[in-house]
């Protein structure tokens, strides 16, 4: 028996889990698993041909269950997501080694469990990504759900509560997916992708509707799509720092992977578009697109109200998922590319942002945006990382987030979807407001007395952050590098491919060349610097040497604007935050509680007369009707 590269990759990943399990209590465990993630990444790079349109690579492992063949294989879609998974696992794990690890242990954290949970997450994600049929997809899905639960729940306290909420949602989603799989089996007679592809054409409208709803909701829960978004932000934010970075970067994108695989590749966007909603002008694809833009807007504006940096970022993570789905369901060349490219871009800057915030927590002990300020003078490199990250998150040039959002905007423009376009821009504007609050309240403004001796984050944490920062900038400058992978993913899921170059995209209706745009931008900065620094030296003054309306500032005066940051805006829109989804969730919860209480009553009492009466009533009703 010969090993295929995929077998090797899965074996490396399994070995990482074993090492974390057996040697996880050693001091050097962090470095060992980090190196093993590196080995996994190398194993993945051996399959790099997949990223450039190579033929899928299968695993030699496959077996029969109940007449169904379970198999695993990697194609361009799996490779692209696996690259992001392993990249973020490697950097998050690297970040956790050294000083963060020691601090975590001092605070009573269970490092063994942390490494094990990370390794399990990576392994289960790889298994999910490698799934070769719907049954193995479901197995992978369950593994990912439980591995994610382990990582989210390990911190205890609020984190466990959030994780319990997550697993409740995830199990509900899994049931829907299972129902969907059963429905597919009924109509296609097989769970192999090829068989489903041919069977989709024969499926009736009602059948396809049911499948779209079941799979869409099931996978959407993992992505945090509205209205299933409530679990995600607290669950990701409360995980130990590097875990947040990893989860925020890739975990919920597994939902997007599954949507790309099942809804886009197997069912086909054309088929989804043919599902009209009666008495309205919209179809199932529009419905998905509108869910996507609501997922952009509402969590973004929820993020703006957060006073904890980690929660703010986690809420944005939900919102950015909306852009990915939006691009994917618009499904023209630019939209598909934008949505998929955003997965990569989002992973890079979200990981960097969580790491920068964790570095701040590491040094100051808090992520409360009302208890920080002015740290740029103490932690300039972390500031740089956070700055690059927020420019990416807000989708401004010159960082990579701009390119993917530009592609999504352009696809909406080309397809003539003004309201979706407007909504996605509103999301971006909200993001800009929110991330300025983030960087202002942590790094700008007045430095607090208790932070005057804070030092820059240690190098063990700094180097992974700087690597991510470089990736964010370089893939913004040369978006052609990830666009090549994205193009092969688009081919693999049957979407059209845009005409891309190293610097961007060319199209008759307007092109983008980031090399030129960024070149000109930096030339502009150069000229600005010449004017500014040519004008003579300036004198650095103390932060208290400041205009205070005729008063003199002293060190005990808090001279910082941080709370209720967008007061004017909130004055107008605060009434729109009604917690409707929380209300919806709690009403579902009470309904379930009520039903279970009723059931329990019937079950416990064993009231024979009652059973008899109900059966009699039912029979009469049946006969009469």
């Amino acid at each position: 028996m010969t090993f295929t590269p995929l077998d090797e990759l899965l074996l490396y990943s399994g070995a990482t889990v074993l090492v974390a399990l057996l040697l996880g209590r050693r001091l050097a465990a962090g470095w060992m698993v980090t190196i093993l993630y590196g080995v996994q990444l190398l194993g993945l790079l051996k399959m790099a041909s997949l990223g450039y349109g190579g033929t899928p690579i299968s695993s030699s492992l496959s077996f029969q269950v109940l007449g169904q063949t379970l198999s695993w294989r990697f194609d361009a879609l799996s490779w692209f997501f696996a690259l992001i998974t392993l990249g973020s696992a490697l950097l998050s794990s690297w970040y956790s080694c050294g000083e963060w690890e020691r601090a975590f242990r001092r605070q009573g954290g269970n490092l063994w469990l942390f490494h094990l949970a990370m390794a399990l997450n990576v392994l289960s994600m790889l298994i999910l990504l490698a799934s070769g049929d719907l049954l193995s997809l479901f197995i992978g899905w369950e593994l990912v759900s439980w591995a994610g639960f382990l990582l989210m729940a390990m911190a205890g306290g609020i984190a466990t509560k959030a994780a319990m909420r997550y697993i409740t949602y995830a199990m509900a989603g899994a049931m829907m997916i299972f129902g969907g799989i059963a429905l597919v089996y009924v109509s296609a007679g097989s769970l192999q992708y090829e068989a489903i592809l041919t069977a989709v054409g024969r499926m009736g409208t009602a059948h396809l509707w049911m499948l779209v709803i079941l799979f869409g909701a099931g996978f959407g829960i993992k992505m945090g799509l509205l209205p299933f978004h409530l679990w995600q932000a607290p669950a990701y934010a409360e995980t130990p720092g590097p875990g947040s970075a990893f989860l925020g970067a890739i975990s919920s994108r597994m939902g997007l992977f599954a949507i790309a695989l099942v809804l886009v590749k197997l069912f086909g966007v054309v088929n989804i578009e043919s599902l009209k909603i009666p008495f309205t002008l919209i179809d199932a694809r529009d419905l998905l697109a509108w869910i996507a833009v609501l997922t952009i807007i509402l969590p973004t504006f929820t993020a703006m109200k957060q006073n904890d940096a980690r929660h703010l970022l986690a809420w944005h993570g939900i919102g950015q998922g909306g852009y990915m789905l939006l691009g994917l369901v618009v499904a023209d060349a630019m939209g598909g590319a934008g949505g998929l490219l955003h997965v990569f871009n989002h992973a890079t800057y979200q990981a960097a942002l969580f790491m920068a915030v964790t570095a701040v927590i590491h040094r100051t002990g808090t992520a409360d945006l009302n208890k920080l300020g002015g740290l740029v003078v103490r932690m300039p490199l972390s500031f740089l990382v956070l700055l690059v990250g927020i420019i990416g998150l807000a989708g401004l040039p010159p960082m990579n987030g701009f390119v993917s959002k530009w592609l999504v905007y352009r696809s909406l423009l080309n397809q003539g979807m003004p309201l979706l376009f407007l909504a996605s821009v509103i999301g971006t504007l909200g993001t800009i407001l929110s991330v300025y609050k983030l960087i202002h309240n942590i790094f700008l403004g007045q430095l607090r007395v208790e932070h005057e001796q804070v030092r820059e984050a240690p190098w063990s944490m700094m180097i992974p952050m700087l690597i991510l920062t470089a990736i964010i900038f370089i893939t913004g400058l040369f978006p052609g590098i990830p666009l090549a992978w994205v193009a092969s993913v688009q081919q693999a899921v049957g979407l059209p491919v845009p005409d891309y170059t190293l610097g961007g995209v060319t199209a008759s209706s307007g092109s983008l060349d980031m090399i030129w745009v960024i070149g000109v931008l930096f030339a502009g900065f150069g000229i600005g610097a010449l004017i500014f620094y040519g004008a003579g030296p300036s004198k650095r003054v103390h932060q208290l040497d400041n205009y205070a309306g005729g008063h003199f500032l002293t060190a005990d005066v808090r001279y910082q604007y941080s709370d209720n940051f967008y007061a004017g805006l909130m004055h107008l829109i605060k009434g729109w935050y009604r917690g409707s989804f929380l209300w919806l969730e709690s009403s579902v919860k009470s309904l379930v509680e009520f039903l279970s209480l009723g059931m329990q009553g019937i079950y416990r009492r064993a009231n024979a007369e009652f059973y008899l009466l109900s059966i009699a009533l039912f029979v009469i009703a049946w006969v009469v009707i």
Binding site: S508, F522, A535
Partner: protein, 298 residues
Amino acid sequence: MAPVELLIELTLMPLVAFVVGLMMVLMMRRIAAKLQRRVGPPFFQPLYDIVKLHGKKTQVSHGLIHDIGIVMAMGGYIAAETLLPVPGMNGIADKGDIVTLLYLMMIPSLGLALGVGQCANPNGSIGIARALTAMLAYDIPLVIVIFGVSFAYGSTNLVTLIQAQQAGGFETWGAVQMPLLAIAGLIAMHASLGKQPFEIYIAPAEIATGPMVEMGGKYLGGLFVMQCFQLYTTSVLYVSLFLGGGTTWFDFLLKSFLVLAIPVSIAYLFPRYRTEDLLRLMWKWPVILGLIGLAFVM
């Protein structure tokens, strides 16, 4: 295009923008003076101001980000000008479309916001918070307008947009084809200039000129340069979207100055809105006009 030619264009475009921007500042001050029955400043006053501010002996810095913020504020606009076609020069307008320009124009604002942030003055921070809120207000109608125009002409490339408008003379101008969008665009443009009644983030009486509170000398000078570019960029963008761009420098400049004269004349007649009133206004009338205009285009 030969590289040398392109290089000359890339140098000339920001330079022209700066000179025209200076004259626009002059026009703004002269209009204000006329409305207030004053004489107004001499022709070279804006230039004197910039030279004076940069030549001041006392230059107060609040840290590196304060400095870099000003550099970004100037540099971002210098870069943005190369994406904005003028008669005879297209620069790199075909390498980054109007969406790129729109987002590139946020870089100077980001620079300013960072610079102000490091000043550690809550007046400045409140000013930036208000400025960002204002951006959320006027960008919504602006985005509707930009969608409408680019959808109507089937392109986001500014060069194509201008050519399409010039193709049939006056009748194919954006303002004639899409009058409602043009009106919505004008209101949004007025708000984006931050002049009264939309001057919420300067508000001298409330927050002591907001972002400018800790700025003096070359810092204020940098913001002055930024303002020149801002006036130029906003009016030229409007001319390119609705008034057919310019075939010659004469009509190009005439249109740009006239367009700018409208909000500036209105500005000095009004006091200031509150933040939430600005939001309410911007999310209501220009959005309604824009959406109706968009319905005609689609």
